[in-house]
Symmetry: D4
Subunit: 243 residues, 8 copies
């Protein structure tokens, strides 16, 4: 018997979009969840070579180990255990600041991984990120003070609100602030609607104007939207100061 | 050709449960939505004869007209245009008070029909009912004062919170009060989850303990649950006062 | 027989949020769909008196007639037959411009009512609105030129893309532009997922970063989000120019 | 290569609500399912320190081991293997009785974990709890005697009925008793609707008035609602006795 | 302009299965809901000519009028207003009895149309049909006596149980009897699962063995299944008596 | 009061794709369902002027009347009452034949409107269309002969099989033929899955290879796919004959 | 630290229904899936003691090992590896035959476990069971011969048809036979509807009269229904022969 | 104790359809996912013996090992690690070419396994397969060149487009090409609709005519449909060339 493996030729299975950051202002994030370890490593290497940075999300423990082994001595790695994300950077490189200011709130402690995923992307887009976690909706007294801080002192341009379960917090926040709100539903919950569907639906049905949503657990998407909004505002501010 | 109608024999198609109020403390409500006009009238007549009262919900305009014609001079009728409900009462009869105290809140004006349906049943169970409508969730400043009034001055035993759209209000209320809360989702909304599913799911996923829910638009069910809870508390209070 | 109507007392069923525009930058829109004609008229009158303007959406033909009769000689009315929306304005009042610039695209002709609903709200927030309708996704050659016009000549701050059916256009647009995109799924379609669910899901699953979505047919919500984003950018520009 | 872990700062990711028990009458339960072991331990420790008690639900085997190791000699632990819940208590502390009386029924043996979760919370709220398990709906003869016992001898203030599969038992029970019933659907079943959806829907559609429901497997929520109802009744009884 | 209608040629659009009754023991029922009036009339006429009988279900008022006009003097018509069904019969023809015995129960009055649809088909298959309507599940005391009558006195071979709402009655009945039970969920209900989905799911999840179900409102299907089962039993009994 | 209608400017709301037939081989069909009468007429007129033909589907009775009035003496109209579709053609024009051969089967009489919609588009693409209606799946003996005719005598290149209800026929057919099969689920049915979802799902899950599906009631889509397949085969045959 | 396990008292958590077989003609089957090993063993032991037989379904590998160890030398065990079911029998006991005749078909090889589960229960009810596996629907030529054998030679009283994927086989079979058919959908499939939902829906929508269904993978339920039907027919036959 | 395993007799549980390739032009593929290892091996052996080839899909690691061991020295095995598929071939046999030309595109790298599954089947049907992977939809500039290559140079007869997430690529492609397109949704995604439902729905709702779809991840089904279409075109071409 002969046993022949027939695979699609290596380098050709992926056509990374190296120009996205320049074209869109958002760096491409390698969603590794549905890729093989080999594919993820190959794509990461190419981004590192071309752009000096590679961002990987939803990294499996196996891939995490391979990243360590593969890029030893070749890249600085920032590892976020919560969202299991990694940023590989050409040694010595630094992300320049763009001036955008993003606030991120979570309803509970369990929403952290996706809030951190969003924070990661905003920082990689050069934004200042201010986070307040576990402000709850059952006990709104915990909400006033941090919200006031974000708006008055940090003067954020946009707020991401991550919430699972009943998904009520983004609606409550959006009713109180005058900046755009991005609802980030998370897969925290139980029973019917408990994988984030209840939270997503509640946000889609919000009574509070000035809010839009991304899909369940899509911290990257929330971060990208917030980063674009914040950086445009920053761009205008900068222009004003320098003109 | 002969054309013969074959119908199930009139009186036998319904077996009303005249004893429910005595057995359960909740009067039977005739849900007329899926019944013919003839069936609804016949059942109402029998309740009026046996119990001195008949309560009908979801009354069609056609049935409304027939009620007028059928019971002229035989019954006092209270008609609620919002929920399209009617209470027929033997002339001169009055609902004795039981002492239970029920608070009812709605998130918006559009939730009224079902809130009124709940109020109707509570009143027919002998409860005092206190309603505050359109307290919203986008703009929580509108919530504090009426909530304080219900708890401190009216000293309600239980609160029904009706909400459609994002269904966030019951969770917010339940996080602030120390009485049981009954979430009543309403079919107010649009798009995905807009027939009350989002509101129901959000309430089922509530982060606030001490809340249970009934089905979408089930004002009668919310009222029955609230009435039983309030009247048991009243019973204890009365016993205390008279002992 | 006595027939007594028992209704909730008129003025108390609604607690309009007259301060929302000042607090949030978004005027309150009266969603008349789940209200009685009497409720809608009463709320509109109060907004007109207090704020000098009332915006009503999803107006039924019956309510449309009553609006004409009720406000004859008392208000200027702008009527949009597509989305069945009305703006009542104190005679002589005008909406001051804020400087925000919003682009609105639709995939097909059928998406117009909701695109116009969004445009209405943006204009009432003082934005310049630029619309391009029916650019399709089957035949992308129709997309390049209008997109270029919006970005380069009109220099919009944000783009709303309305699409039903496959909901593919917002993803395509978001992959090509460097401003935030708001996906507005519409209930245009047929068969499974044809009331906008397919479009909404496709937008929630977008491969293109920098997009967030609102619920199906929620033109008002898309307009509010876009208006807030655009006016913040405008505010910065204005400050820059006047400083 | 440098490999730097970037985590959210430890103590700040959770803001426990130590006042909930006092404000609401329901102790906060730490839902550990979506938290890391470190987060769960830290939150438990703070509750133990501040309130003298910590309740944890949905405890993983890994967390169970860590609880043993972490709190050795510092707390009394009650462990419920069915619902995988733990109560940590300052040595020597005891839960004072409040006088509320709660009955708990299950349709089958498989519903036990969630019934025990509810019983746990009721006991931690100071209620007497009376349980009857596996009374079935196919063979209603098994139901009469235990139900009579609960109502006449134990005189419970409220009944929780846990059921998976067809979810029929709560409706049957609610039709027979004069106390409020809380339907607790469980994820016991198979095929379509078999993760508790059929049971939940059937309870939401109940023909029997005087019942409200919580989400699938939400034993904690059912217990909290029952405890509040029962303790209010007890409070009235106590006042009566002592006045 | 020429305006030409192009229709599929008349007689060829339907190929009625005249042999089904002989082959299968179940007469073909013309489901008129999705057919034009012309198609329904043409098919009915052919069945009347070939088999001496035509059964039509879900007859629109318009079709009802046309049936009257079309078959005047040519057929005996039995009309059931509840299920809106009609049986056309060659004058003088009679349905011979087959000896099968079918019991039909409904949970409420509202379930009648579909119970009657089932009864109709059973009678057209030559069965004796015994019906008991509105036996409820909230108040099981109403169930014992009629059930005993069906089993002991009428000695039915099979029982159809129609129920909407919670769909609990078929499970309760199936747990008590020793004949096969056919669950017939009906579209009676409200809110989530209220078009019969809750009832269907609950029946599919039944804890009671010896029950199978048909689709929501499929009285014809329930009747066909019951008729086949009952007539096979009758056949055996007859053979026994005559052998 | 001034009442001003503000509409999007007429001709600009639609950008018809006049080149689609040339580019794609499929004429554009105006889906009028979500358009106003004015929009539909305007688009139809432009297609008639530019391409000499306009195809409209899902035509409302109101639009039908307007078509008559509008195009009197200017176009030949073919009207299909089943699918409510219209073909407007410049007087004297004729659709040239392309040689493709398409077979269309339906499971029942009720599936006709969508089968005719598919047939219409195939004919407008120049195909020969052979239809066999109501071949059923309960009684497969009715299937053999027409299937043999389609394959052996008409030698069709592709078969569309329209079916609602259980959606079983396409799988059965696909298991027997050696040409590609297109499953066209229709919204014929009742109860759970009865708007075509059951039929669509069953076709998507087919055990028979060589079948693909279109959405529920999408006769136009099925026709377009079949027409492209058939005409490519015809092109090859023609080339062969003429070479 | 003290670590105290608090469990519900052993024997009281289950109340087995030992009388079901006598009352209903169907033996109780212990669904072990949601029970602990200890609960399953205890219940099995009690059935073995009282009834001389215990039937367990969905047995985990762990429970399988415990059954071996626990009942060594005390019971005869029949083990079915496909459905992972076990029958424990008092040594020497035998299931008496009742004369019912059941046919079981499967569409594919993958449907075997549930077909065997059904066969097991029928045999334990004393029926003769005749099985034909993998008769497919794509290639109906494989169906005729085995179907003829079941009907003419084995003269079965009822046929169970198990199918996953498209679920088309039961409809095809039901259209061809004159005995009742029980559709048993299985969780074999992929993609949308692939956990048996497509099969179940297709069966619920069947065009063929004389079929009812059980839930997905509910082999036990299909067997119970078939066994009751078959044994009633057998009872009549036996009576005939002996009279 | 006796422990007796009772299994369905070996060879009889499967009735492979050896004639399918001849009858239908598509080889039968053994979907091993729901079969035991023993069943899969037995069926594979029989196909190898009778047809000289066996194709297995969704092969578990355990089965993969057994295939190696079982067919050592008896068959040539082609193994595709992506889709975990295997082709066993009688040593020396070769698949003759039929001339059909199939293009396969994927939106992302993650869609590869199912694209390769489709490619495998097309090659086994004798087609030339041309693949282009990861052409994306966010950044359409990457699409033009490969599409042009497929159409102009390879002159493919049909294109399969695999896409997960938003599922937008097939609609975009279908709007640009004049060959039939088969949409292959994949289970790549996250959150609501993320197991391929969003992609499938978007494809079912496509605005672009000339596309049909298969179920999520059904690469085999897409390949079979494409292979049949392509080979028919090839047959015509061949006939032309040789005539």
């Amino acid at each position: 018997m002969s046993w022949n493996e027939r695979t699609a030729a290596g380098g050709e299975v992926a056509r990374p979009d190296f120009e996205r950051h320049r074209r869109k202002g958002v760096p491409e994030v390698i969603l590794t969840e549905h890729k093989t370890v080999e594919q993820s490593l190959a794509i990461a290497r190419r981004f590192l070579e071309v752009n000096g940075r590679a961002i990987l999300s939803r990294v499996s423990p196996e891939l995490q180990e391979c990243l360590r082994a593969e890029f030893e001595g070749q890249a600085d790695v920032e590892w976020l255990p919560g969202p299991r994300a990694a940023v590989l950077r050409r040694p010595g490189d630094e992300q320049p600041l763009c001036g955008g200011r993003v606030g991120i709130l979570t309803a509970g402690t369990s929403d952290l991984p996706w809030a951190e995923e969003a924070a990661l992307l905003c920082r990689e887009m050069g934004c200042d990120v201010h986070t307040v976690y576990d402000v709850g909706v059952s006990g709104l007294h915990r909400l006033w003070e941090p919200l006031h801080h974000l708006l008055e002192e940090e003067q954020v341009d946009v707020i991401i609100v991550a919430a699972g379960m009943d998904g009520a917090l983004p609606s409550v926040v959006s009713g109180l602030v005058d900046v755009p709100v991005i609802g980030l539903p998370t897969s925290v919950g139980y029973g019917l609607g408990g994988r984030g569907e209840a939270a997503l639906l509640s946000m889609l049905q919000t009574c509070s104007p000035g809010m839009a949503v991304v899909n369940i657990d899509n911290g990257i998407g929330a971060g990208a939207m917030a980063g674009i909004i914040a950086n445009r505002a920053a761009e205008a501010r900068t222009a004003r100061l320098t003109s």
